[in-house]
């Protein structure tokens, strides 16, 4: 799948933003924490509209709450931002906190992040995403990133280490999950019973929206995976423990790691429709995938 910059910005920034807001809802937070939470969440939501061909029609996205995770995410985001407004104002004014609004807003934040994850996790056509790690890691990133902003300390370090462990486990388990799918060009075309099926000629002479957006798959990169695990959790945790004052550095390292991890999430995932074009679901390790001429972006 193509790692669209708008989707990277949206999922990473709004994830950290809603994580920050959820933690700010739990305990009294400083104005700068609230500001960071709202700014990140809103920046992510604005970035998400860059992905739409018709951004002005985004208002229609609230109509299918019953079936669509994208609709649920839209509702969750608006609900979270609205419900936490009185809590933020109470913290700014130094008055008593409205506990109910804080609880409801925190749950809405969690729901929003889980909805974002399920937009990807629900897709059976992308086996790498249709896996436990998708709905587990999105809240994991939100919690770790939010903790680095809202309550940098031992708890944040622990969450970061847990995130790194989860990320490493997701790479191993996700690869196994895709290998178990065992879908081939022969199986998707239903022609496997006649022999070994190979894509002989692509259906178009040039790239198409489909080949650029969906029929792409990058080889697995152990270096980038290692970098993501290191930057997202291990390095920020080390900074928090060794130099408790250097919170911005820890945050910057985590943000870089989150972007690398999210880029890998998109770039390494492969779509079942790619098999019609002869792009296998699981690349042979270390061998760079040679895209068919039509698949070149």
């Amino acid at each position: 799948m193509r790692p669209a910059p708008s989707l990277l910005l949206f999922t990473v920034l709004s994830g950290i933003g809603f994580g920050t807001l959820a933690l700010a809802a739990l305990a009294r937070a400083s104005p700068s924490v609230w500001a960071a939470g709202y700014a990140l969440a809103l920046a992510g939501l604005v970035a998400s509209t860059f992905h739409l061909a018709h951004p002005l029609r985004a208002r229609f996205a609230f109509r299918r709450l019953r079936t669509s995770w994208l609709s649920r995410e839209a509702w969750g985001a608006v609900a979270a931002l609205a419900l936490l407004m009185p809590v933020a104002l109470a913290d700014l004014a130094g008055g008593p906190r409205p506990i109910f609004w804080g609880m409801a807003g925190g749950l809405a934040c969690l729901g929003t992040v889980i909805s974002t994850a399920m937009i990807y996790g629900q897709l059976r056509a992308v086996p790498r995403w249709h896996h436990w790690s998708t709905p587990a890691l999105f809240p994991g990133f939100a919690a770790a990133g939010g903790a680095l902003i809202a309550m940098p300390g031992p708890w944040a370090a622990a969450l970061c280490v847990a995130l790194s462990a989860g990320l490493a486990a997701s790479f191993v388990s996700g690869d196994r999950h895709v290998a178990r799918c065992a879908l081939t060009t022969g199986r998707v075309t239903g022609l496997a019973r006649f022999g070994r099926v190979r894509s002989f000629e692509p259906p178009s002479t040039g790239p198409t929206w489909l080949t650029r957006e969906i029929v792409t798959g990058r080889p697995r990169s152990r270096v980038l995976r290692g970098l993501a695990v290191l930057l997202a959790g291990v390095a920020p945790a080390a900074v928090l423990i060794l130099a408790p004052g250097a919170v911005p550095l820890a945050g910057a390292l985590h943000l870089a790691g989150a972007f690398v991890a999210r880029w890998l999430f998109f770039a390494e995932a492969r779509h079942v429709a790619g098999l019609f074009h002869g792009v296998p679901l699981a690349p042979a390790p270390k061998a760079a995938l040679k895209p068919a001429p039509a698949a070149r972006g």
């Binding site: 799948m1 992905h51 739409l52 061909a53 018709h54 951004p55 029609r57 985004a58 229609f60 996205a61 609230f62 109509r63 299918r64 079936t67 669509s68 995770w69 994208l70 609709s71 839209a74 937009i119 629900q122 897709l123 059976r124 056509a125 992308v126 060009t185 199986r187 998707v188 075309t189 239903g190 022609l191 006649f194 022999g195 070994r196 099926v197 190979r198 894509s199 002989f200 000629e201 692509p202 259906p203 178009s204 040039g206 790239p207 198409t208 929206w209 489909l210 957006e213 969906i214 029929v215 779509h271 079942v272 429709a273 790619g274 019609f276 074009h277």
Partner: protein, 237 residues
């Protein structure tokens, strides 16, 4: 699903010759109305790109027992009974009609692309000009062409196919001619294991005739073969 009507395309892989006439006819038919035109970007430039609703793949099939085979394979929306592209749509633009056709209300489409991600067949393409998702509608939404005979209501791809490899009909009725054809030829669905319940069917290629087994030539001269025969002619024996 009311009345069990299930409109579907059935594609005969034995008859398809890979001429792409369906692809072109579909594009042309949609261009009849500005509302349904499948957009093209840079159509006469260096990197043309446009939306097409059916595309013809070509596969090589190797087997142990015979020569390799080349097979043309048109890919198109399977009009699933449980279409994964419909529930993911946040606006309800992507919907399942009562006659079993999966369609898009393009005035409500955001162009978010999630439906195309959800489709395991890669049947949807984003229009690069209109910025909305496009998919096969079995030509039902198109304005009626007055020059068309009334009974000629088949989709453009079906009418354009020079070898009659594409059929359209009601697969909800087990006694319809199309249902009988599918049963006779052992038509199969694509990726039924993903739970999409596709309505479309593919008719498998018929087995190729095997070359007749040629018996070895009977010896011209029984006994010690040609050399002995020449020897005998030459009088050496």
């Amino acid at each position: 699903m009311t009345g069990g009507r299930k409109l579907a395309l059935v594609i005969d892989l034995d008859a398809c010759v890979g001429c792409h006439a369906c692809t072109v006819a579909c594009k042309g038919w949609h261009a009849l109305s500005p509302a349904t035109t499948l957009g093209d970007r840079d159509s006469h430039g260096a990197a043309p790109e446009g939306a097409f609703l059916t595309r013809v793949h070509c596969y090589e099939i190797e087997n142990e027992t015979g020569p390799a085979q080349i097979l043309s394979f048109p890919r198109v929306c399977q009009h699933c009974e449980d279409p994964p592209c419909v529930p993911v749509c946040p606006t309800g633009a992507s919907h399942l009609r009562l006659d079993g056709v999966v369609a898009i209300d393009d005035a409500r489409c955001l162009g978010c692309g999630l439906c195309a991600w959800a489709c395991p067949y890669g049947a949807r393409e984003l229009d690069p000009v209109a910025g909305v998702m496009r998919k096969c509608t079995l030509c039902l939404d198109l304005p009626q062409d007055p020059s068309r005979p009334e009974d000629d209501s088949a989709p453009a791809c079906v009418r354009a196919c020079p070898t009659g490899a594409r059929h359209v009909g009601d697969l909800g009725d087990p006694h319809s001619p199309l249902s009988r054809l599918v049963a006779e030829r052992g038509g199969f669905a694509l990726l039924p294991e993903l739970g999409t319940r596709p309505a479309g069917r593919y008719l498998p290629p018929r087995p190729k005739d095997a070359a007749p087994a040629v018996p070895p030539l009977s010896p011209i001269a029984p006994g010690q073969g040609v050399r002995a025969w020449i020897d005998r002619l030459a009088g050496r024996r």
